[in-house]
Symmetry: C2
Subunit: 585 residues, 2 copies
C-alpha cells in the first residue's frame, strides 16, 4: 500500500480541491466530499486495470423503501447514512467485519411532511464536521448529532410543512456555520438559504431568494456582473404585485464554497407557479446563482441562468470549482451544467459568463448572449395558456437535474449524469392555496432525439465538447464519482452500478444491485488500508416516483409528466433501500 | 464441468431423495426442493476447499420490508420469489446478466389480513409444477400462475380473514393436487389441510384437524400405531363441549410426500387457546402428525407429539424422509425435530416412534415413553391460572420452530437451525371473539442455559447425538441447506450468511447481508453451468417481529414474550427485503 499512498498524496497536492482542514484524503465528510463539489476521490488503488475485479464487500438494509438520493459519509472509521423520510440516521462501524450498526437515530419527523414533498421524500445526505453530524428532516428541522454516540445535540425548526415547505438537501459546514436551504418550489414556497451556528443551532442569518433587498441580504457588497441584475429591490420589482411572496426560488441543491474568494455559491429554484403568464418579469432571484459571504450572508454577485424561467428549469444544479485554461490563461472557474441545456463556465470572483455551450438537445432557446449574459428564448416554445406546446427540449426535468456531476483534476473532464427528455406542455391559470401544489401546467415528458432517455457523458470544458458518451435506457439519476485511479462510477435506474475508464468511457465493470440507483457514489479508505466504493440503491426521486410512490401509470401527466416517461420502469426495478460497498478482493 | 456433473449424478443415483419426475438436479421446484423435505442439493461444485471464495453474483430488492421466510424456487432458468404481504411474485430471468425481472404479479390481497396474522405477515414460498406456479396469499387465496408469463390461471378462496384465518405456508403439488393449509392457531381458527385440483383450482378434499371423523377424513383406512389414537370421533371427544370448533390444529408447516408409501405427512398446530386449563383432554388432532393418502385425503395414521399441548409447542415442524440403520436393519424413517425438544424417528408406514431423544434443554417433560408413545410431562411446569411458572424449557417458540432442517444422505447428518430459549408464563381465562387473539397466556421468553439464544447443530439420528454445534447470539430462524459438495449453509438474524464444512461444522465463509436472515437458502445450477446459492434477507417472523413490526421493546410480553428475548435486535439489524445470490468467481 505504501507506494500507492505516496502517489496519491502527490496527486492531491498537485491539484488541490478545497476541503475542510480536518478531512483526511481517505474520508468523505460531505455529500460532494470537498467544498469545490468535485466529488473527486484522491484514492488511486482502484484503476482501469483492476476495476474488473471489484467485488461486493458488504451491504446494509436501511429499512426504508423510498428514493435513496443520499451520499454515504465517512469519518473516523464510521459510515453515516441518512434515509429518505423518516430520515433515520445510521452509523456503521467500519472497523468490524460486516460493518455492524454502531447507533441509529430516529428524528421522528411529522408523517404529514410526506404529503407535502413534491417528488418523493428524498434526503441527499448528512455532513460531518468536527465530531458532529448535521442533517435535515423532511419536516423542516436541522439536527446536530454527536457523531460518536448518535446523541442529539440540538435541533432547530426552520419552517413549516403547513406552507408546503420541506427540506431534502445536504447541508455543508463553512467557518462554523451549517448552511441549509428549503424545498417546495411546486407549492408556492418562498426560498431561502439559512446559516445556523454549528455549536448551538441558532440562526446566524437567512437570505431569502425573493423580496426586498434587506430580505435577500443585498447591500453595498453586491456587484453583479450584468446590468439587468443591478437596481434596488429587484426581488420585488421583477414580480407582479405580491407574487414574490409565493414565488419559489427554493434552495435544495448542493452548496459550494471557495476559501480563496471566501464565497459560497448556490443555485435558486424555479419561480412559482410554473405557468409563466401569471408572473410577468424576470422573477428575481429565482433560477440563478448567488455568491455570498459565509460570515454574514451578504450577496456579492448573482447571475440568472433562466430569467423568467419558462419551463421549470430551476437553477439549483451543482456549481463545481475548477481551474482551466481559457484563451491561454489559467482561470479559476465555476462549471455549471444547467437544466436548461447549457454548460456554463463562470468566473468565480465576478460571476461573468466565460462560456455557455449546449450539452444536450435544446429547442427552448437559441443561445446565451455572452455580451449581455442573457438566455435567448425561442418564442415558439413559450408556454401559452390553453395551447399545447410540443417538443419542448430539454423537458422540465432538464438536460440533467440535481444528480451531481464529478470533476477530475487529472483528466480535466466533467462527468455528467444526464437525461435526454423532451415534453409537451399545457399551461393554465392556477390559484394559490397554502400547502398545496401551485403549478398551473400539465406535462407529458418523453424520450428526446435518439429514443434513449439517459446518458452519461464526459465533458471537456476547455474544448467545450463531449469527449465520450454512453446512452442509457433510463435517465441517469445518480451522482457521478471520479477517482485518482482514473475510473468513474455511476448508477442506473434499472439497477446497474457501473465503473468506467475515466479517459475513454469504456465500461470495465458493472454490478446489478437490488433496486434502481439514484444515490451518490463515494469512495473512502477502510481501516484495512483498502479503497472502498459505496452507493445507496433504492429507486425513487422525481424520475423514479412511479415505483416508490406506486403511481398509476395510466395517467402520463402524473408526477408532472414524469409518469409518461417512465411507464415501463416498474418492469425493470422494485422498491429498495440498501447500501452496497465494494472493494478489490 | 463434465467430470463434476458425472460425480454428482452418481451421488444422486446412489441416494435418491424423492422428487417430482420433471425436476432436474440443477433446479429447485418447491421450498424443500424434494418431497422428502431434505433440502439437499445434489450439486457438488462448491466444496469446503473452494467455499472461502464464494462471491456475490447478484441481488434483487423485493420492494417489501416484512419478514422474508420464503425459499426462492428455480425452474426453466427462471427464479421465482414470493414476498411477505402483499405477496408479490417475481420471475427473474437467469439467462441474462444481473437476472432482470421477467414479470411481476401482484395478487392485491386485502390489507386487513395484515392485522390478523399472529407473527408478522410472512410467506414461505411458491411451488413450481408442470409450467405452473402455486402460492398462497395472506388473505386466504391459493393462486395458480402461468410460470412463463405470470398470468393468473385461477384463484380459489379457501377461508376467511374475518375468522382470523390466514395462509403463510408453502404448498406442494402431489399427483395433480395442490396441498395447502391454514394459519391462525392464536385466533381460535380450526385447522385443515386442503387439496386443490392443480388444473382447475377446485377443492378435491379437505381434512380438518379437529371435529368428527368425517370432517377429519378418518375412516376404515385409519390405523394409528398407539392405542390412545384409536376410537370414534376423538377429534370431538378429546375436547370440552364445542371447543374443537375453535381449537386450532392449523397446518402452516411444510408437507412431506413419500411416493413409496404413497402418503403425505404433515404436522398440526397447537390447540387453542394456549391456556390449557380451558381445554381438558388430549385435544386431538392438534400438535401431532398425520399420514394421509393424497388422492382422497383419507387418514392412515396419526401420532401426537404433545397431547393436550401445554406450552404452544405446535406440531408443525418439518418431517424429513431418510433411510438409516436401526438395530442393524436399514429403516425408512421420518426425522422430526419437534418444538418440544425431542428429535423423533418414526417408521414411515406405521407411525411407530423408533426413538425420541432430547436435542435441547428440556424442563417441561422427562421423556417419551416408547412403549405407549406418550410424552411424559413434568407437572411442576404445568401452566396454572394465576400462577407464574418459571423456567419453562423449551419456551413456546420451541427448541426449533418452523425453520427447516436439512438432511444430507452423504454425511447422514440432520442440520438443525435451533433456539435456546426458556420462558416464564402466566395463564388466565380468555374468551373467544371471532378474528381476535385467543391465547390466555402472558409470557416472557429469555435465553436458555449458557446464555446464547441460538444454535446450529449437526445431529446424528443413528447415534442420537449432536456431532457438532455452533452457538449463535440470536435464534437461528433461517432454514438450512446441505449440498453434495459437503457444505452446509444457514443465516443469522443479525445478518450473516454462513457456509460450513458439513462434516466438521468449521466456519469456512460468511457474508454480511443487509438485513437479518430468516429465509430458506437454496441451490441451483445456472444457465452457465455454475452452482449458485440463493437466500432472501429481510428480518421478521415471530422472532424478528420487534424490528419488522416496530414493536415497543418496553413490554417484554409483546409478540407472546418474544420481545423480551429480542429487545436488542433493533441494534443489530434493520428491516429489509433482498435476494442474495452467490457463486464461485
Amino acid at each position: 500500500m505504501k507506494p500507492l499512498l505516496a502517489a496519491v498524496f502527490l496527486v492531491s497536492n498537485l491539484m488541490p480541491a478545497p476541503v475542510p482542514a480536518a478531512e483526511p484524503e481517505g474520508e468523505w465528510h460531505m455529500a460532494a466530499r470537498d467544498y469545490g463539489n468535485t466529488r473527486f476521490s484522491p484514492l488511486g488503488e482502484i484503476t482501469p486495470a483492476n476495476l474488473p475485479k471489484l467485488s461486493l464487500a458488504f451491504t446494509f438494509s436501511t429499512g426504508v423503501l423510498r428514493g435513496h438520493e443520499a451520499a454515504p459519509v465517512v469519518a473516523d472509521n464510521t459510515m453515516f447514512i441518512v434515509t429518505p423520510y423518516p430520515n433515520l440516521v445510521y452509523a456503521l462501524d467500519l472497523t468490524k467485519p460486516g460493518a455492524p450498526q454502531k447507533w441509529k437515530f430516529d428524528p421522528k419527523p411529522a408523517a404529514s411532511s410526506q404529503g407535502v414533498a413534491c417528488c418523493d421524500v428524498v434526503n441527499r445526505g448528512v455532513v460531518y464536521s468536527d465530531g458532529k453530524l448535521f442533517f435535515n428532516t423532511l419536516d423542516m428541522n436541522t439536527i446536530a448529532l454527536d457523531a460518536r454516540t448518535g446523541k442529539e445535540l440540538w435541533r432547530t425548526k426552520l419552517g413549516s410543512i403547513e406552507k408546503g415547505e420541506t427540506m431534502t438537501m445536504a447541508p455543508i459546514v463553512v467557518k462554523g456555520k451549517v448552511l441549509v436551504g428549503n424545498s417546495g418550489g411546486e407549492l408556492g414556497v418562498r426560498g431561502w438559504l439559512t446559516a445556523l451556528d454549528a455549536a448551538t443551532g441558532k440562526i446566524a442569518w437567512r437570505a431569502w431568494s425573493t423580496g426586498p433587498d434587506k430580505d435577500v441580504l443585498i447591500g453595498p457588497a453586491f456587484k453583479p456582473f450584468y446590468a439587468q441584475d443591478r437596481g434596488k429591490d429587484l426581488g420585488t420589482r421583477s414580480w407582479p404585485g405580491d407574487g414574490w411572496k409565493i414565488g419559489g426560488g427554493t434552495v435544495w441543491g448542493f452548496i459550494t464554497y471557495d476559501p480563496e474568494t471566501d464565497l459560497v455559491y448556490y443555485g435558486t429554484g424555479n419561480p412559482g407557479p410554473w405557468n409563466p403568464e401569471q408572473r410577468p418579469g424576470d422573477n428575481k432571484w429565482t433560477s440563478g446563482i448567488f455568491a455570498r459571504k459565509p460570515d454574514t450572508g451578504e450577496a456579492v454577485w448573482y447571475y440568472q441562468w433562466s430569467p423568467h424561467d419558462l419551463h421549470d428549469y430551476d437553477g439549483v444544479n451543482e456549481n463545481v470549482l475548477a481551474e482551466i485554461p481559457i484563451k491561454g490563461r489559467q482561470r479559476k472557474v465555476i462549471l455549471h451544467p444547467d437544466r436548461n441545456g447549457y454548460l456554463y463556465v463562470l468566473d468565480r470572483a465576478s460571476g461573468q459568463v466565460l462560456s455557455a455551450t449546449p450539452y444536450a438537445a435544446i429547442t427552448t432557446s437559441t443561445r446565451v448572449d455572452l455580451e449581455t449574459g442573457k438566455l435567448v428564448y425561442n418564442p415558439a416554445k413559450d408556454p401559452t395558456a390553453g395551447k399545447t406546446v410540443r417538443d419542448i427540449c430539454p423537458a422540465s426535468s432538464g438536460a440533467k437535474d440535481w444528480q451531481p456531476s464529478s470533476w477530475s483534476p487529472r483528466t480535466k473532464l466533467l462527468y455528467l449524469p444526464m437525461q435526454n427528455i423532451c415534453q409537451d406542455a399545457q399551461t393554465f391559470e392556477t390559484s394559490y392555496i397554502s400547502g398545496t401544489p401551485y403549478v398551473g401546467a400539465s406535462l407529458e415528458q418523453y424520450a428526446g432525439p435518439g429514443g434513449h432517455r439517459g446518458e452519461f457523458a464526459a465533458w471537456d470544458p476547455v474544448a467545450q465538447k463531449k469527449v465520450w458518451s454512453i446512452k442509457e435506457n433510463f435517465p441517469v439519476w445518480s451522482g457521478a464519482l471520479a477517482t485518482a485511479g482514473d475510473v468513474v462510477f455511476y448508477g442506473t435506474m434499472d439497477g446497474w452500478f457501473k465503473g468506467l475508464d475515466a479517459k475513454t468511457g469504456k465500461l470495465l465493470w458493472q454490478y446489478k444491485v437490488g433496486s434502481g440507483i439514484i444515490g451518490q457514489p463515494v469512495s473512502y479508505r477502510g481501516p484495512d488500508g483498502k479503497q472502498y466504493v459505496a452507493v445507496l440503491s433504492g429507486i425513487g426521486g422525481w424520475a423514479g416516483t412511479i415505483v416508490s410512490g406506486e403511481i398509476d401509470p395510466r395517467d402520463g401527466t402524473g408526477a408532472n409528466g414524469m409518469v409518461n416517461l417512465t411507464k415501463d420502469l416498474p418492469q425493470y426495478t422494485a422498491k429498495g433501500g440498501m447500501l452496497y460497498v465494494f472493494a478489490l478482493p
